[in-house]
Each structure stands twice: as C-alpha cells, then as structure tokens.
Symmetry: C3
Subunit: 461 residues, 3 copies
C-alpha cells in the first residue's frame, strides 16, 4: 500500500538529522545561560540574604509547564479527532513542536536582542519558544491529514522565522501589547496556515473524504486536548506578563472569558442543529475561542465583565463560523481547513486584536494608577497617549495579517514542490502511509488498515 513517492525512508531521517545538526552548531556558537540560569552571574554577590525566590524560575516555571502541556497534549490530542490519523496528529505535533521550539529560540533570540553576540536563554525564552511553536501548530491544523512530516518541518522552518520577524515588528518597533498572542500567535498562525492550505488545494480530496471524520473514541481523545487547552489558557495568556498584578489579572480575565465562551458555544451548537443536537466539533473548538479573544487585552483593565462579553461573542462567532463559513471557504475560496482554524484562531484572533486596541485606547492613569507603566511600558517617555497606543495596536493587526498571508503564500508554493512525499488524494487522513499501524482488535488487523466503507461492506456480506 505504500506509494513509493510517499516513502520517508531517506527524506525524513536526512531532514531531521541535518536540521538537528545545524541547530546544535548554532546553539554551540550563539546560546548562553542568562542571568538567572548561570551560576557565576546568579551567585555573583551571594550573601546569606540572597533571595533565591526572586529567580525568574519561581515566577514563571509553573506557567511554562502549563503552556508546555497545551503545546504537546493540548494541540496534539485536539487533532486526534480523525478516525485514522491519531498517530500522525499526536506524533507529528510532537515532532514539529520539538523542532520549532529549538529553531524559535534562535530566531527570537536573534531578533529580540543579542547580548555581546550571544542569545541568552532562561524560562522566558522557553515560554516564548513554546508560544512561537503554538503558531506553527495552528497552521498544522489547517493542513492536517494532507501533508507529509517532511512538508510540515519545512513549513515550520519558514513560519518560525517569519513569526520572529512579525513579533519583532509588533513588540519592538510598534511597541504593541500582545502578551497572550491574539495577534502574534493566533492571527498569524491561522492566516499563514489558511494561505498554505489554499495554495495546496486538492480538487480531488473527496477521494479521502470518508476518512475525514471522527469515530466515537477519537472524539473522546480529542476532548483530552480541548479540556487541557481550556484549563491552562489562563496560564498561557499570563505567562510572560509582568510580575504581580498583571500576571494575576490576566489569568483571571482569561478564566472568565472561557467560562462565558463555553455557555455560548453550547447554546449556538444546539441552536444551529436541525434536531437541536450538540456537535462535538463545536465543543472541541469553539469553546476555546474565549481564550484567543482575550490574548491581547487580558493583561489590561478589561474587567471580568468585559472578559465575559468578549468570551461570549467569541464562542458565538466561532460556532457560526464552523456551521456557515467553513463550507463556503472550501467551496468558494478553495480553502480546505481540516480543523477549522479560521473559526478557532482566525476570527477570534482578530476579535482579540480589536478588543486589545479598544481597551488600550481607553487606558488612563486614573484606572491603572502606578500600574500603568507596568502594563503599557512606554508611559514614562511622556509620548504615551491612549489613543495613539490604540492606533499602534490596530496597525499591528494589519501588519500581522499582511505578514501571515504573504508568508503563507510563499511557503505554500515551496511546499508544492513534488519532493516532500506528500500523500496522494486517495490516502489523505491515513496513518498507514507513515506509521506501522496495528489493527483495532485481535484477528481483525488486516481489515482496518486500508479498507474503505465499501470494502468493509463487501467483506461483511
């Protein structure tokens, strides 16, 4: 059954080994421990009163681990909903995340400021690298089932690089706020991925359509991913905000946004179904849109009230997107979006950017007190004005959309070259191409590997 053109015998190993060797060489040349991880620097003026609890580790490591769970379990299992693509979903997620976080450390370190020609690493760089990885995994969701691991690694190389450039423009040049990544992570990852899948459009994907759906157990595996993403999103949005009240407030705003989002998701999922039945696709995905939509404004004085309104709207547009927009995108715009990332990350990401711009434009010293500068950073220069701040936030969204669409276009064409072992139209959404796949049950293994429904029927009769 293995089509020789999809064989990864040499291509995948060679690419993995070459990439890792390059990473190791660059790390050897460029990467150093930062102040909080280097024994010499951290213990320089050590006295008996040295306060180890001030090490950045204790402020951020629990959040880092939550983010880490979202990246590897959250994204990985969320995509196991397909009936015959569980190994690839969780496995390729694992592979491209492990690569991306290394590559992101270098790219982000390069753009965010070198120290005497060296990139300094610590728990903050680990969180940032995981964030960048998140964008790649979002894009993965659009092309899920239709791309080989070699293609995915190549996509990650380009996407991580562009992510770092876009992040640099937003945070360092435009001075934008985006602690939870409504723009840098979700909007960027979504539109990049949508453009890639547009370029890789398969007119004959219907040949694999019978595998492009869930079975009962695969939907339960996917719920593991959903619930972990939902629970730890407060940690995601607050992971790199300032210590103290901003980190605390961001986590809480996200918590309320997600709770409200869950209720609107259930409401609209039942409402748009002719029989009033809930759809697992909505619950698995739309209930998370509330986390995306407060990614920018979460650290601001959005208030629980505001967070709940935003979450409620996010859940609503996400469900409606799955129901009404996704089919149109596929039939009219030829965008085959396997996981519906436009509904989970695209539209809610834009909503988050807009909410962030408005909330920033409404900021004032009266509301934030001495905490103003700790959220908006550049207050002391005297040039800071809420309105211009809001304006720069809006510009940041436009830049992000431009970078994502352009980057996705170029990357899509690169991925179209017939050298990466892409699966044929007849074998999309099929683990058997890339994995040694055991059967479902004793004595039945042969049956399930490649059989289509028709074949099963024949065998059963």
């Amino acid at each position: 059954m293995a089509d020789s053109s999809t064989s990864m015998r040499l291509r995948l190993p060679l690419l993995c080994i070459i990439l890792e060797v390059i990473l190791i060489i660059l790390f050897g040349a460029l990467v150093e421990y930062d102040h909080d991880t280097d024994p010499k620097l951290w213990n320089k003026n050590r006295t008996s009163a040295t306060n180890d609890y001030e090490n950045e580790f204790y402020y951020r490591y629990p959040s880092f681990q939550d983010v880490h769970v979202m990246i590897f379990v959250g994204f990985g299992f969320l995509m196991t909903f397909l009936q015959r693509y569980g190994f690839s979903s969780v496995g390729f997620n694992f592979l491209i995340a492990a690569f991306s976080l290394q590559w992101a450390t270098l790219m982000q370190g390069f753009f965010h400021g070198m120290h005497n020609g060296k990139i300094h690493v610590g728990v903050e760089s680990m969180i940032n690298a995981d964030f960048c990885t998140g964008a790649v995994l979002i894009s993965f969701g659009a092309v899920l089932g239709k791309t080989s691991p070699v293609q995915l690694l190549v996509m990650a190389i380009f996407e991580v690089t562009l992510f770092a450039v876009n992040e640099f423009i937003l945070l360092s040049i435009l001075g934008a706020n985006d602690a939870g990544g409504s723009m840098t992570i979700h909007t960027f990852g979504a539109y990049f991925g949508l453009m890639v899948t547009r370029v890789l459009y398969r007119p004959n994907l219907s040949k694999s359509q019978h595998r492009n759906s869930s079975v009962y157990h695969s939907d339960l595996f996917a719920m593991i991913g959903t619930i972990y993403l939902w629970m730890f999103w407060p940690s995601f949005n607050s992971a790199i905000t300032q210590h103290g009240d901003p980190q605390h407030r961001t986590a809480m705003n996200t918590y309320y946004s997600l709770a409200a989002c869950t209720l609107s998701t259930f409401a609209f999922s039942a409402l748009v179904n002719p029989e009033g039945k809930l759809d697992m696709v909505h619950i698995q995905n739309a209930a998370l849109a509330g986390g995306v939509a407060v990614g920018t404004a979460g650290e601001m004085m959005l208030t629980p009230f505001g967070s709940m309104i935003v979450g409620f709207i996010a859940g609503t547009i996400s469900v409606l997107g799955y129901k009404y927009l996704t089919p149109v995108l596929e039939s009219k715009l030829k965008i085959q979006d396997t996981c519906g990332i436009h509904n989970l990350h695209g539209m809610p990401g834009i909503l988050g950017a807009v909410v962030g711009a408005v909330t920033a434009a409404l900021a004032s010293p009266e509301v934030y007190g001495n905490g103003l500068q700790r959220v908006f950073g550049d207050v002391e220069t005297g040039q800071w004005k809420p309105e211009s701040k809001g304006g720069f936030q809006a510009i940041s969204l436009a830049v992000t959309l431009g970078m994502a669409l352009f980057g996705g276009l170029v990357t899509g064409f690169i991925l179209k070259l017939p050298i990466y072992g892409a699966p044929p139209d007849t074998h999309c959404f099929e683990d058997g191409l890339y994995w040694e796949v055991p059967g479902e049950e004793e004595g039945h293994s042969e049956l399930h590997e490649v059989a289509t429904p028709n074949e099963v029927e024949k065998l059963n009769s």
Copy 2:
C-alpha cells in the same frame, strides 16, 4: 430516533443565553478586582523594593490549576466509564462547571462579605468557585445518564446557591474548619445529589440497563479521571489553607491518606469478589475516598500516621459500600446512584467531618505552638477551647446534612417538572439523544447509535 420531548433545539440555547446574560449583568454591577489583581491597589506604594512574590498569585495559582484539572478532567473523565455516555459525561461536566464557577463567584462573594457593595475577585475566589463547582459535579454523578443538560443547569442554579448559604453558616457563623471541604463540598454534594436522584426515581430504568455499564476502553478513559483526581487531591485540600506550614502539611497528609487508601481499596476489591478479581468500579472510585476523608483534618496535626489510618478506613468503607450498600439503596430506598457518589463522597465525607471534629477537639497550644491560631483562627479571642471547637465541627456536619437533604428534596421536585426534556426510560445513558454521534468504525456507524443487544444479535445473524 430523537423523541421530540427531549429536543433541546430551543430550551438549551435559551437557558444558556439567558443565564450568561444575567451573569454578565451581575458581574458588571457587582464584581471588582481585589487588592492583588487591581493595578492601582497593588502598585499603590510601589518602590523598587516592592515584592511581587508576595502577590497571592504565587502562593495559590499552582494549586488553583491543579484544582481546575480535577474539576474539568478529573470529574469529567471519571464519568466517561459508561459505554455510550462519554460525550455527555465530559461535555455536560464542562458546561455545568463553566456555568457554576461564574454563579458561585457571585453567590460566595455575596455571602462571604461584600466590600462597599462590591465582590472582590482574585485567585482565592477562583479556587472557591471551583470548589463549589465540585459539589455540583458530585451531585451530577448521582443523576448521570438520567437527566438532560437543561435539568443539570437548573440543578446547578439551586445547588450553588445553597452551597454558598451552607458554607457561610459553617465558616462564618459556626467558625468551622473545612479547608478541603469534607463537609461543605463532599457531604453536601453527595446528599444533595442522592436526594435529587431519589425524587427523580425511575421505576423502569431497567429498560436502559444494558447501557448502564462500561466497555474496555471507556474504563481506561475513566482511569484518566481517577488518576488526576488522586494525584492533585493534595493540592485540592491545601489550596485555601493559610500560607506556609498549613498548606505544606495539608498537602502531605492528603498524600499519605490517599496512598494508604489505595492499598485498602485493592485489598477489599479482590476480597469481596467470588473469584478474587479486581473491579474497575472500586479502583476508579474508592481509591479516592482517602482524599475526601482528610478534607477537614488535613490542615491539622493529623500526622502522617493518622492520615494513613483514615485513608485505610475510607478505602475500606467505600469498597464495601459499592459492593453491599449501593444495591440496597437502590432496591429498598429507591436511590439510583449512577456513579456511587454515596460511597466516594457521602460516607467518606461524613468520616472526614468526624475525623475533623475529633482532631480539632484534641488540639492544644503544646502541639501547635504559635501556629495554633493560624489553623484555628479564633484563638486570640480567649474564648477558644478545643472541646467547643470540636463541638462546632460536629454541629457543622449536622447542618450540612440537613441543608443538603432539604435542598435536594426541593430541587428534585423542581427538576421533575416535565419541561426540561428529560430522557425517556428507554434512552437513558445514551449520548445519541443530545449529540451528533459518529459510529465506532467506518461503515458501522448506523449500527451502534441506538441498537440494544437484542437488535445487535438480530443484525449479526
């Protein structure tokens, strides 16, 4: 197959939207950031020496996240053991938890003390809201498979409200200790739920009995819930104790209690089986009773020794309850307790309350030193006596039982109104009523949705 009377097309969306709108309005009117989440308050006297690590966030957020995992993954997956109710178990758990935590924030804030007419929120209110949600999910376990999501939301409205009243009486009026909620959460949630399921008694539930059991994979999914509850219970019991030694000690006492409980669970599970085989129902549930049973005394000087004795007893009575008491409750008292919450939360909760009363009555300044007041709060008034403290603990248990049984009774009758789309006796424990359900395998989907064993037999022949 959808019985029109169970259709949720309008009822569920309307209820969700109305509830969320009410919540948003109340949050807008009543909820404010607390001292540790408000930028103005937290940074009021900010100097270079301001210690952000003293923000409550760093003391409690890791525990909060563990509790959060217990609520959404722990309870959610624990209930996926039913063969055809996995979507509903984890999905409705998700829905009613997301609602309850918002409603609980308001109710608890209202009863625990307003600040100039405002409810202050921060990580402690988040933990408390999750705790209250836990009680609702315990009750959910009793009625699992026999109630529509509309009924569950209505139940949550009443249960959360009564929970807050009971908690207020115990903690604020009686001055009881109950950091891990043996009384407020477990005893209350269990007897409330048992009374509700008693009122909703279905004499013809046997028509759905073939679906009221597990299959191999569903038991493995349930073990995900069990293990997460077990691992994070130390965080649950210690999440809102005082900083420092009480939080540390509570986590450790719970750890030892659970370890001992696991051994007695395995022992008695094999012992009560005619063939000496272990029963997954016991392992999934009884092994957790040790966490319930030290919910009150965990912060006290129970010692690892005492914790292990309590855990051992809890596991024993829980297994014996599943084996000998549950069938009697159903046949004699007409209490149909799907998950056996009486064995996991009811009896161990009462045990925990008794252990707490005894341990409090044995407290003394000799044992606790300066730490006495930090556990028992009201020492300095001079009126504090160990015996009276123990007495108030015992009274608290009685109050809790009364509130739970009365509340469950009233709520049960409210839920009996024929307006919530409750499932018919023939379709209990069946996801297909509420969800778009895919099949188990390609080409087999039609078969599994509603077929009874007899039908399957016919189809197979």
Copy 3:
C-alpha cells in the same frame, strides 16, 4: 477461565493489608513533620515579617506535582500499549506506586539520617519517595504482563530497600551528584528489572505472543503517558537540585536534551524500517531517552549545546536498541523485556552517568563562580578536585550496576517461588486473569474476554 493457582482472592488482600498495617505502625513510631510542615517549628519565631514564601513548599511543590504526574499518569499510561493489559498496566502501576512511596519514605528516611530517632518528612521526602517509586516502575516495565500483583508488591519491597542502600552509598558515602537519577533511578531500576525478568525467563511465552502487541487505540493511550513524561521531565531532573540557578538550569538543559532527542528518534525510527515507516514503540519510548541521559549532568554547566548533543545520541542509541539489541537480548540472553526498558532507561542511564562524570571532571571555579559549591557541595573542605569528583561519579555507576544486578538476581529467585499466583504462559498479557473485564462493545462482551485469534476466526466463519 480463572486458573485457581492465579486466584488473588486471599493472597492479594492479605498482602496489601499486612503491608499497610506494618507501614502505619512504623509511621506512627518513626515519622514526624519536618521544620517546614510542623506548626510549632515553622512559627517559632514568627513576627509580622515572617516570610512564608521561604517555606520549602513554594520552591518544590509545583515540581513535586509534575513528578507525581509522571509516576502515576506517565508510567501508568505508557504501559497501556498492550491490547489486553490496560487495566493491569495503569492499575498495578497505581498499586505498587502507592505502596512504594510509603515504604520509600521509611527506607530513605532511615538511610538519609534520622533526627533523634525520627524520620522528618516534607515536600523533599515526598519527591524522593516518588523518585524511588520511579525505579520500581521501570523494573515493572521489564516484567509487564508476566507477573501477578502479589509478585510486583514483593519485588517493590526488595527493590525499594536496595534503592535506598544504593542511594545512600552514592550520595552520602561517595558524595556523587545525581539529582535527576541517571544512576540511582534509571540505571538501577533498569538493570534490577532486567535481572528479575532474566531469572523469571519463560521459554513458552510464545503461547501468549498474540497478546504481546498493541492495537490502534491502546497506542494512543500509551502516547498520553509518553507525552506527560516528556513534558514534565524538566521538573523531574530539577525537583531536588538547589534553589535558584541550579533548579532553573537543570530544567532548561533537560528541555533542550529532550527536544533534540525527539528529532533523532523520528529520524532513526524511519531509517531502520524497510518501508520508512515510523514505529510507535520508538516514538513512545526512545523520545524520552534524552531526559534520562541528562539526569546527572543536568544541574551542571552542560550548556544547551551539550544537552542537545547528549539528547541526540540518547535517542539514537535507544531506537537502535529497540531494533537490533532487544531481539538479541531475548534470543541469546533469555531476557524478555516487555517494554524495552534497556533501551529507554538502561543504556541512556549509563550514558547519563558517563556524561555526568565527564562534566563533573571538567568543572572549575572559573566557570561556576560562587555557584560551584552549590552544585558540587563539598568544595569548601579544600579536598575537592574536579578529576577526583569525576572519578567518584564513575565509581558510583559501577556500584549501581553491581547493586542492581545482584539485587535483581536475589529478588528474581524469591519471585520464582510458586506461591504468588503468577500467570500461566498461556495467559500472560491478559487483564482477564486479575480483573472483571467488560467487553469492547454491546453484545460482544463474551467474545473478547478470552478468545485467541484462532477462536475469533472460527467464530467469524
């Protein structure tokens, strides 16, 4: 189907109860709260300025919980890959871990220094007990499917005891560094388990060979275990290092090692397969070898660069071990290693010990500054020299191997006594011996419980 000789009706309950009663008595006689968990000691000099955040709890509890997840979810689910042994994998893992952590608290407390005849417990002892439990679970992996729970408990009694002795020799007598347990946990657990399975060699295991493999869903359950182990390994290796920079650095080194290891695992898994397909066995196991291999050197100045090299090598040798060495070990040395622990813990553990010895031998005050003593402890005595330090690390590896092999040999012969209800050769890897097992689907339950492929074939025809 239950062979009377395997019945656990009395043996398992009696052993569990006797063990727990002994544990409780010993805890009552010997165990006390430590400085940070005792209210009298912690609050002794309490003033308004007392800093609760200096309680060890806040430095280590988040790491403890991550380790706890690795022990119960990580190890437990990793072993669910077998098609008919999921209950036993996660269930027996649960049982022997719950026992081992109690027994380890006593054994480690005894060897690591009593305080006036008492063992002091707190979060550090909890982490250490979980670590020791990890070694037992590694050994469990070698005998998985071929041993009764009674045998496993007996194995745990001996292994925990020897673990504590070996740990005492390494850390207290030889002054070795081994914070993440490359030697004490992984090398010890692996070679102990390999020797046990060698002694328990079953020449007729082929009679159960059809059950000694995975099915599609069981591989996904196993991936839950893999991913959790992978994500939380940074917490594992850093959990008991010194506060501040060592804890921070260890977590980061482990993170990079694992990322590099994942790429080499995917590369070599595809390379050694004739069709270039990935093997779930490799992904589930070899991708973790990078965590094992930096268990000793992780806290040292290994640098991200060095960590990635070590991780890359660890993944490579682990995959090659699964492919080429495991079959030889079985056919030539009669070592039936169910989970391939030699490839995941054995060889990478030795690699980790060697890397640790080399990195220690290269240490210098120039590189570590004032932090030198905080990593290598005994610097101030003036006797410390990098080379001798490296030498003692190497000696520690030899001692560990000797202790493990000798201990495994003795324990293996004890486990060979025909009194523990070991499964017959025809019913290895079969839950049905120990558990009440439901069927896979409605109406099919009878079929799956004991049917062999041949029987299934007959039934189907």
